[in-house]
Amino acid sequence: MTLAQLGEVSTTLVWGALASLTIALVAFAVDLARRTDVRAEHRSKAVSTAAQRELVGAVTAGASAATPTPSAVAEPVETTPRRRAAGIAMSTTTLGAFLLLVGIVTRGIAAGRTPWANMYEFTLVGSFVAVTVFLIVNRLRDVQFLGAFVTGLAAVFLTMGLNVFYIAAMGVQPALQSYWLVLHVGVAITAAGVFTVAFTASVLQLLRTARDAGSGWLGTWHWLDRVPAPANLEALSFRLNAVGFVLWTFTIIGGSIWAEHAWGRYWGWDPKEVWSFVIWVVYAGYLHARTTRGWSGTRAAWFVVVGFACVIWNFTGVNLVFNGKHSYSGLN
């Protein structure tokens, strides 16, 4: 098999991963809807235990205790709801991650280098990291409620990658020939994948908070009652964002060292550097907001939304719109 053919095999595998993740997205959505139905049936039975738990929750939950939330209703151990959809979703997600991994590896062999040097490859690796982080976290604790959103975002990224950013596998210019390509870019994409999962948790936190506060337009989104309480979503988001922030800090430091080697300066306010700095400051703001009275909870979650928007912009717009030293999309 020639390298060009191997490159085509890689592309086919990525299409396969996209199909698999799309099935997972549908199955996760069905599962969320099913859980909602089960919840409605069980609601009356759960009332007594829920009331007890509410009491316990009210003692410690601080601000959120002021308005009794349906969070406690979500907590009773779900005995045997029909979770066939969840099974399908998890299998197809795992399959999608596997196909993507093989697709990335074959891409690397076809190009004869680390397979993350242009935007198409960024979308592959970023999606893979997001899905893998989801699968790993799900082994530690049940976060299947995030599945629809993570696979959905991964499917969007891959669709964009295959249709907009795709270029054939090839080598890289001298400026990219460095082990820092593996470290700096690899860690940057990993951070983006981690931020993606944290972002989904924060969005759910915001939606759930709005619904609990009686937001009109979320009134029919019953599935939101099936996701954990905002405080727990915030805790999950924080843990992921903390990892993401450390990775991003490393990305910037590694990038500076590399820039010093390749371009003769460690920091030059190139558009990519500007936006990496902005992302770092926004997430630093998020960490501080969490500990500032009146800024934790919902406002902190908005920082995550803004921060993730900057991450996405940094991976797309900055490469395509601005003409900087980091314009490695490979597209003209």
Partner: protein, 565 residues
């Protein structure tokens, strides 16, 4: 079951600043009218060092950085700024007044980050003092009631309270993470004596937090000192030639305010050879793959010369300065004889690549013509692999010199070199020159290949292109003594950040006493800074160390539960 939803979750964030229990900026309400100067100063200082203002400054900093990526910046691309000002004369003038073409050196951007650092220092200093006291302190006394704590365990043991307390204390000490105190509360009224254990771990969390913030201050100071002490010289060197590390030998030279010429180490460097490689496959045709400059370095004051290579990503380091390969191109060897047959110009002329195929633009200025003749200027392109299309336009189709050609237009008149005003060597000032046209009124074009001599139009003379086309490299020499400090503080910040975010800060307490009907009651409680999923596990591990535990009765009345995992 949903593992995420834990019991008794406190909605307490666990960010890097969670050790701060009271926010100095928020605690006292400002009393406006009676403050006086000192009061105002104190109030301002409190506001500035409050978390809320720090947060505001962080948000401002993020927003303020954005325009620098949208508008061209003088520090990065001054030519683009001029183009922008030309295209937007009115709005450009205002943007310029606001400093938007030099965002990162503008007063408002500097004000934001300097205020942020003042706020940071004001916040960190008291915390360093508090943390130093804490480090010598003992774990807080065992509370008398455990019910309010998020992690609990209790049971009955056959061992005595003393043995239980000792065993748990020993287990906590064994892992070397905890600072442990064993104590007792004397019997009072009907209550028996209670043995207690108080343990705390995770002092490193705040240490990491403080290291992170102090390292950021160090980083800022290092970067600033680098700005003051650095120098940077750029030189264009053709094959077989060289330059000495002296201010006059550079084409451009930048320096910081505290630069001293002594910090230039007087070595010299010669470019022996330059080679480049480009992809030839269809997919990535003509993409660059490798650039290598081979150089010989003669150390200061003579001595043994040494051979080195400089590549992109592999700068050459000499005496603390680094030499980077920043660009390359062709410098054809051109000889121009004037109408009298005298050599009016002979030398290498660097042509600047304008595209990936190295279609390179250059200017040849011929001022030293024989008396009575007009000066000559030639502008045009060097094409490494020339292809002339049917319409007569020439372009390069590959970056390597497989079919090199020089395509020039000819001007005559006054080059303007005698005015004493410095000129850009890559631009021809045609204000006092006229383009030479052929008989048909079309501009005359001179096309010459290496080794050829052609006549210039209008009998102006001849032009010879040397048989070999030498390569040139653009070298960038930088000296910045702060680099090691910048890296050290950056890595310290990273380490501090990781430690502060991932070190759990936990307290574990034990209370145990003898029950009137025999046996020993044991209860443990845990408390963590922020939310900490491992807290219940910590309490459970300590509980497992209790000797002689009786199997727990099936008791639904327990108002707390084990962690579901």
């Amino acid at each position: 079951m949903s593992g995420l939803t834990r019991k008794n979750t406190r909605y307490a964030p666990a960010g890097i600043d969670d050790a701060m229990t009271s926010d100095p900026g928020e605690a006292p309400e400002p009393q406006l009218p009676t403050l006086g100067a000192r009061g105002w100063a104190r109030w301002t200082w409190r506001q500035l060092t409050s978390m809320r203002v720090a947060l505001l400054l962080l948000m401002l900093l993020a927003v303020a950085a954005v325009p620098g990526s949208v508008l061209p910046q003088r520090g990065q691309d001054p030519a683009k700024v001029l183009t922008y000002l030309g295209e937007h004369p009115t709005s450009g003038k205002w943007l310029d007044r606001l400093g938007l073409f030099g965002v990162y050196t503008s007063p408002w951007f500097s004000a934001i980050y300097l205020l942020l650092f003042v706020s940071l220092i004001g916040c960190i200093l008291p915390r360093v003092a508090a943390h130093l006291r804490n480090l010598r302190g003992r774990p807080p006394r065992t509370p008398s009631r455990f019910a309010r704590f998020p992690a609990l365990a209790s049971g009955t043991s056959t061992a005595s309270p003393d043995d239980v307390a000792d065993a748990v204390a020993a287990a906590l000490r064994r892992r070397r993470l905890f600072r442990v105190d064993v104590g007792a509360e004397p019997a009072k009224d009907a209550r028996p004596e209670i043995r207690t254990v108080a343990a705390e771990r995770g002092y490193l969390r705040e240490t990491g937090n403080l290291v992170f913030h102090i390292a950021l201050v160090g980083l800022l100071i290092s970067v600033a000192s680098g700005q003051l002490l650095h120098y940077r010289g750029q030189a264009l060197v053709t094959q077989g030639r060289g330059f000495a590390n002296a201010v006059v030998d550079y084409d451009t030279f930048d320096k910081g305010a505290w630069f001293r010429p002594e910090s230039l180490s007087p070595f010299s460097l010669t470019l022996d050879d330059f080679s480049s490689e480009f992809a030839t496959d269809a997919v990535a045709f003509a993409q660059s793959r490798d650039f290598t400059a081979s150089v010989t370095v003669t150390p200061a004051g003579g001595g043994t010369t040494s051979q080195h290579t400089i590549k992109v990503n592999h700068p050459l380091e000499i005496d603390g300065a680094k030499i980077y390969l920043q660009g390359n191109g062709f410098a054809p060897e051109v000889t121009v004889k004037d109408a009298d047959g005298q050599v009016a110009f002979a030398g290498r002329v660097p042509f600047i690549p304008e595209d990936t195929m190295y279609t390179s633009r250059g200017v040849i200025k011929v001022p030293d013509v024989s008396a009575g003749l007009e000066q000559i200027g030639l502008t045009g392109y060097f094409l490494p692999t020339a292809q002339i299309d049917d319409d007569g336009s020439a372009r390069s189709v590959f970056p390597q010199p497989t079919n090199p050609m020089l395509v020039l237009q000819v001007w005559t008149g006054d080059l303007g070199l005698d005015d004493g005003v410095p000129q850009n060597v890559y631009q021809l000032d045609t204000a006092n020159m006229t383009a030479v046209t052929g008989d048909d009124g079309v501009r005359a074009q001179v096309i010459v290949k290496p080794g050829e001599t052609v006549d210039l139009p209008d009998g102006l003379g001849t032009l010879t292109l040397g048989a070999d086309v030498p390569r040139y490299v653009a070298l960038d020499l930088r000296y910045d003594p702060s680099l090691a400090w910048v890296l050290t503080f950056a890595l310290l910040a990273l380490a501090g950040l990781g430690v502060s975010l991932f070190t759990p800060r936990r307290r574990v307490w034990l209370r145990t006493w003898a029950l009137p009907d025999g046996g020993t009651h044991v209860e443990l409680a845990g408390l963590a800074r922020g939310d900490d999923t491992g807290l219940q596990g910590e309490v459970d591990r300590a509980f497992a160390a209790v000797p002689g535990l009786r199997p727990p009765p099936d008791d639904d009345a327990d108002n707390y539960q084990e962690d579901p995992r």
